[in-house]
């Protein structure tokens, strides 16, 4: 059975299922208990599972993350929530030097089955220190898996898949998606980590998008279809490990590639996708330069107009796609 849930409700349902099924699962984070989480994602789960399993942590990301890593190392399945993904900077030691490394440094004797949730992205007027998209930073670290669900369905399925994973999985949730509604099956299901999803089939150009950009790309594709430009839209879903074959197969089909992502354009996921295509046999299928649409080279501005202008919007995707397909690039 499937019904409409919001993205935040879908995540909460996934956590509820996990808490109910497996007593090793615990939630940790600042204000996730009585307050229900900075974005009300955990909601009233504390009422159902109590403060031993839905734990408010002190205002120290480094301390909380360290406890979560240790808990994972000693047999629990913690889900650690950051209030804003920007605060990952405070916990980098635990994420990068401990969670990602311990399995390797102990010769595989232990693993860190840790899930971390990062509310990410701009658009809420929260300014430079609360609006970043830093998923590519963590995706650069071997030992971490990084996912970016774009729909309520995937938010639930990827969270449950992350809990099944023996290694640390970082989940970046776009803040503007929390209220988005979509069909979500009841009960347990998983979306495999490392698989992209073809959101729209098309023949003229492949748009590889992540997170909220998937929806902007789909909106652009709809408008472009009226002009006879047939876009294929891939929701990458996981940025480490990348679903190489889905992207390459699509590029072989359409011969054109646009990468759309909210994070700063330079040295980001778009560069990785572009290089992956250029290094592969799909290179020989490219009939136009690769295009990246990413965030501006600046901190996210507080001014609402500038905030919008700093990340790709639907008209940007339409214009870039039209230029590419109509041979102006």
């Amino acid at each position: 059975m499937s019904r409409e849930l919001s993205y935040a409700e879908a995540i909460r349902e996934a956590m509820d299922i996990a808490l109910g099924e497996d007593e090793r699962v615990i939630l940790m984070g600042e204000d996730i208990g009585v307050y229900g989480g900075a974005f009300q994602v955990t909601g009233d789960l504390i009422d159902k599972y109590g403060p031993d399993r839905v734990m408010d942590t002190p205002i120290s990301e480094l301390g909380g993350a360290g406890v979560a890593v240790g808990a994972a190392m000693t047999g629990l399945r913690p889900i650690f929530e950051f209030q804003f993904s920007d605060f990952a900077t405070l916990a980098m030691e635990q994420i990068v030097n401990q969670a990602a490394k311990v399995r390797y440094m102990l010769g595989g004797a232990v693993s860190i089955p840790l899930v971390m949730r990062f509310p990410a992205g701009s658009g809420t007027g929260a300014a430079a220190q609360h609006s970043q998209s830093i998923e590519a930073w963590l995706a650069h670290v071997p030992g971490l898996k990084v996912v970016q669900p774009a729909t309520p369905h995937d938010a639930k399925g990827l969270l449950l898949a992350a809990l099944d994973d023996p290694d640390p999985v970082m989940i970046f949730e776009h803040k503007l998606l929390y209220k988005m509604k979509g069909a979500v099956p009841e009960g347990r299901y998983t979306v495999p980590i490392g698989t992209a999803e073809l959101r729209r089939e098309g023949s003229d150009v492949t748009i590889v998008a992540t997170s909220i950009m998937v929806h902007k790309a789909l909106e652009a594709a709809k408008a472009l279809a009226e002009d006879g430009i047939d876009c294929e839209v891939i929701d990458l879903r996981t940025i480490r490990p990348i679903d190489r074959e889905t992207v390459l197969a699509s590029v072989r089909k359409t011969s054109r590639l646009i990468c759309v992502y909210e994070a700063v354009k330079t040295l980001g996921i778009g560069a990785e996708i572009s290089a992956m295509v250029a290094e592969s046999d799909a290179f020989d299928y490219l009939d136009a330069p690769i295009v990246r649409l990413g965030g501006a080279e600046c901190p996210i501005p507080y001014n609402p107009d500038l905030e919008k202008a700093a990340v790709p919007q639907v008209p940007d995707i339409i214009a870039a796609t039209r230029d590419l397909v109509e041979g102006r690039r």
């Binding site: 290179f283 299928y285 009939d287 041979g327």
Partner: protein, 415 residues
């Protein structure tokens, strides 16, 4: 003085060659007449012999480099000769200068300005997408022959002519807007590349080339009669979907063109028959089977020379280039079988004079008075409204021997 090694002209239509292998490394000993390097042209791969004896130095055209004919690519120093300063890099794809005299010292390397100038025109400055490059590779087309319609002249996939959807393997080039296309059908044992000279004279035109069955890539299924061949060519013409073309054919291709015009008259704006078959029984059967069946250059050369009035037009290098395309015994077998079907025992087994009487679009016959394959007097059987253009000192291949004149004729009616 060192002997200069130049990019040789081994093919009549060749302007550049690509070095595909060196048999001797720089500093190695070479002997005049021994294989020195291999080149690839639009048509063929060839081995080139050393022009001198001594030591090879200053190789400036490396493997994969494309060089204009006549350009120096290395020098050979005689024993004891002092080796000069190495020249600095080839004038890749520059306009071909007069071939350097072997006794001249190495020409100075071009200045960077010269290189960038030439690069704008030549292949080194060519823009093509990876997909266009791959398609051209697969379809055995030369990128420098294609016109890019993308930004800054970039060649895109849409600029690379498609592979044959039909047995007659049409290829298309030039502008596609406004003008009525010219459709070319080559002759027996020839190929679409034989039109290159005429196409150059025609300038920027929309040109479509069709390939005869049992030729080029189409050796699988040999027609068993002229009627069979004509039917296949008609089907291929229909598949082209062209509503109006100027149709030009040579020899057996002219017979095919006449057969198409006979059944599709409303789609043919004009008909030009060059040295056409089908207008009388006589044909030089020995030359036909000689060209089609010759397995090596020694046997092919004498027959090829019967095609042109001036045998010097058919150089040894040209014969080698043609032979290189005919290395595959299956190609020769297919063409011998076709010759046996349409020209059995040295006789033209089909007669298109009735068709020539029927066609009513503007029609001309072009013939060389010195044709040694099909007698030009067959043209005299044409009805009075068909124009006849005869060329002196011209053999069976006016489009190769007199391309400028043929282009002039084709232009007269706005073709």
């Amino acid at each position: 003085m060192p002997v200069v090694v130049i990019m040789p002209k081994v093919d009549m239509d060749m302007s550049h060659g690509t070095v595909s292998a060196w048999h001797v490394a720089a500093g190695g000993a070479v002997t005049k007449g021994d294989p020195l390097f291999d080149i690839e042209t639009d048509k063929a791969a060839m081995e080139v012999e050393s022009p001198g004896t001594g030591t090879l130095h200053h190789i400036i055209a490396n493997i994969g480099d494309t060089v204009a004919i006549g350009e120096p690519i290395a020098w050979i120093y005689a024993e004891g000769e002092a080796v000069g300063d190495a020249p600095q890099g080839p004038a890749k794809a520059a306009e071909a200068p007069a071939p350097a005299d072997k006794d001249e010292p190495p020409t100075p390397a071009p200045t960077p300005d010269q290189i960038s100038d030439s690069a704008q025109n030549g292949e080194t400055g060519l823009r093509a997408t990876p997909l266009a490059r791959r398609l051209a590779r697969e379809r055995q087309l030369n990128l420098s022959d294609l016109r890019g319609t993308g930004p800054r002249g970039r060649i895109q996939a849409q600029d690379v002519p498609k592979k044959a959807a039909t047995p007659a393997h049409p290829t298309s080039k030039g502008h596609t807007t406004g003008q009525t296309p010219i459709l070319l059908i080559h002759g027996f044992a020839s190929d679409p590349a034989s039109w290159a000279r005429l196409e150059r004279e025609l300038g920027q035109r929309h040109i479509i080339r069709m390939e005869l069955p049992a030729h080029g890539r189409l050796t699988g299924d040999v027609p068993d009669s002229f009627a069979d061949l004509a039917r296949r060519m008609r089907d291929a013409f229909d598949d082209l979907g062209q509503e109006n073309v100027h149709l030009v054919g040579h020899s057996l291709g002219a017979a095919a063109a006449l057969a198409i015009a006979d059944v599709r008259p409303r789609q043919i704006a004009s008909l030009t028959l060059i040295s056409p078959a089908g207008l009388g029984p006589e044909i030089n059967g020995a030359a036909i089977t000689g060209v089609a069946g010759a397995p090596r250059v020694e046997s092919l050369g004498p027959w090829l020379r019967t095609l042109a009035h001036d045998p010097d037009l058919i150089t040894d290098a040209y014969v080698r280039a043609i032979m290189a395309q005919r290395q595959n015994p299956a190609v020769r077998q297919a063409q011998l079988a076709l010759a046996d079907a349409v020209f059995p025992d040295g006789v033209q087994a089909f007669d298109l004079r009735a068709a020539l009487d029927r066609v009513d679009m503007p029609t001309r016959i072009i013939w060389g008075r010195n044709d040694r394959i099909i007698p030009w007097k067959h043209a005299l059987s044409a009805p009075g409204r068909v124009s006849l253009n005869l060329f002196e000192r011209t053999g069976h291949m006016p489009h190769i021997e007199k391309p400028a004149e043929i282009a002039f004729l084709l232009r007269q009616r706005g073709e």
